[in-house]
């Protein structure tokens, strides 16, 4: 009888080959790819009331009927710094639009650092802190930067995990406005 080593070696070889194929297929994919699809898209946006850094408050009630871009960010994450020019550019083009509101919610950072960054970068839209990470939890955020666009009907029309580009933000807002 042939030594079983041949058969076992053949079997192990097949398994190893399959494993190598699986690894090769996954190689190069971002392991966080699943995070880019938020499960809240199509659901009504969670309600929140948060303190802004200039001492006021922002709440979903005050934003009803408008298209809202909610951007979770903080001062130390590098992709957040990457997308800042996109946000600044977008703000400069749409700051006079009464039906569009941009709200930045800070995740995992201190108020002092945020205030310093806001004044240094001339960030003009509403920036709110999230004590107790309640909003982050409600929106089921996976990290930062993460952006949700809410339509005038209060439903989340689109989301993006990772830094925004001008095209992606434009596309999401257009889709959201279409829900009026």
């Amino acid at each position: 009888m042939r030594h079983p080593a041949r058969w076992v070696a053949g079997g192990v070889g097949v398994i190893v080959a399959l494993l190598a194929v699986v690894l090769a297929v996954n190689s190069g994919k971002d392991p966080r790819a699943d995070a880019s699809h938020s499960r809240l898209v199509g659901q009504p946006a969670p309600a929140f009331t948060l303190p802004t850094i200039d001492g006021k408050q922002v709440s979903t009630a005050s934003l009803a009927g408008k298209t809202v871009v909610v951007n979770f960010w903080n001062t130390w994450c590098q992709p957040c710094q990457q997308e800042l020019p996109t946000l600044l550019d977008y703000w400069s083009r749409h700051s006079n639009d009464p039906d569009l509101v941009m709200v930045g919610i800070v995740r995992d950072d201190t108020e002092g650092a945020v205030k310093a960054a806001v004044s240094a970068e001339h960030i003009g839209w509403t920036i709110a802190m999230d004590p107790g990470a309640k909003a982050a939890l409600a929106f089921a955020t996976r990290g930062q930067p993460e952006t949700y666009v809410i339509g005038p009907d209060g439903v989340i029309a689109g989301s993006q995990y990772g830094p925004l580009t001008v095209q992606s933000l434009d596309a999401m807002v257009t889709a959201a406005r279409g829900r009026a």
């Binding site: 499960r39 982050a136 939890l137 955020t141």
Partner: protein, 150 residues
């Protein structure tokens, strides 16, 4: 019987100790214990491989508070797990579910181990049963020839 006496006694002692150890501690688990147990089954989303129970991030703290609030409101473990899966996707569960493809990750090691243990037992049994290498006819003739020659 005398040879097995000490061992039988030891077996009894061990059985008693294990029975006491396995006895569920009285009463239901507290909310804190249940929170911790559930939190250790859910993955912290902005850490790597840590559970919500172990993670120190503010989000994880908020999630622990959320789980506790849900438990106090009377939700069951299964409902809370489902709520989190609805929000974050099935990858938030650290313990793969038994249905669907998850059954492979639980079952394959058990199957492989049973296979291996079975193979080992079979090999041991075969080795015991196989007679020692017996001399063949040719061997006997060779010895006879050598004897005659020398």
């Amino acid at each position: 019987m005398k040879r097995w006496g000490p061992w039988a006694l030891l077996a009894v002692i061990a059985a008693v100790v294990l029975a006491v150890a396995a006895w569920p501690s009285g009463g239901h688990a507290t909310i804190a214990e249940r929170t911790r147990s559930l939190a250790s089954e859910l993955r912290c989303v902005d850490c790597e491989a840590l559970s919500i129970a172990d993670s120190a991030t503010p989000t994880a703290a908020a999630q622990r508070a959320d789980i506790e609030a849900r438990l106090r409101a009377g939700q069951t473990d299964g409902q809370i797990r489902q709520a989190y899966v609805d929000r974050y996707g099935p990858s938030i569960l650290l313990k793969p579910q038994n249905d669907g493809i998850g059954i492979l990750v639980w079952g394959l090691p058990v199957a492989a181990f049973i296979l291996g243990a079975g193979g080992l037992a079979y090999a041991l049994w075969r080795w015991r049963r196989e007679p020692r290498l017996a001399a063949t006819e040719a061997d006997e003739q060779l010895v006879a020839q050598a004897r005659e020659a020398g």
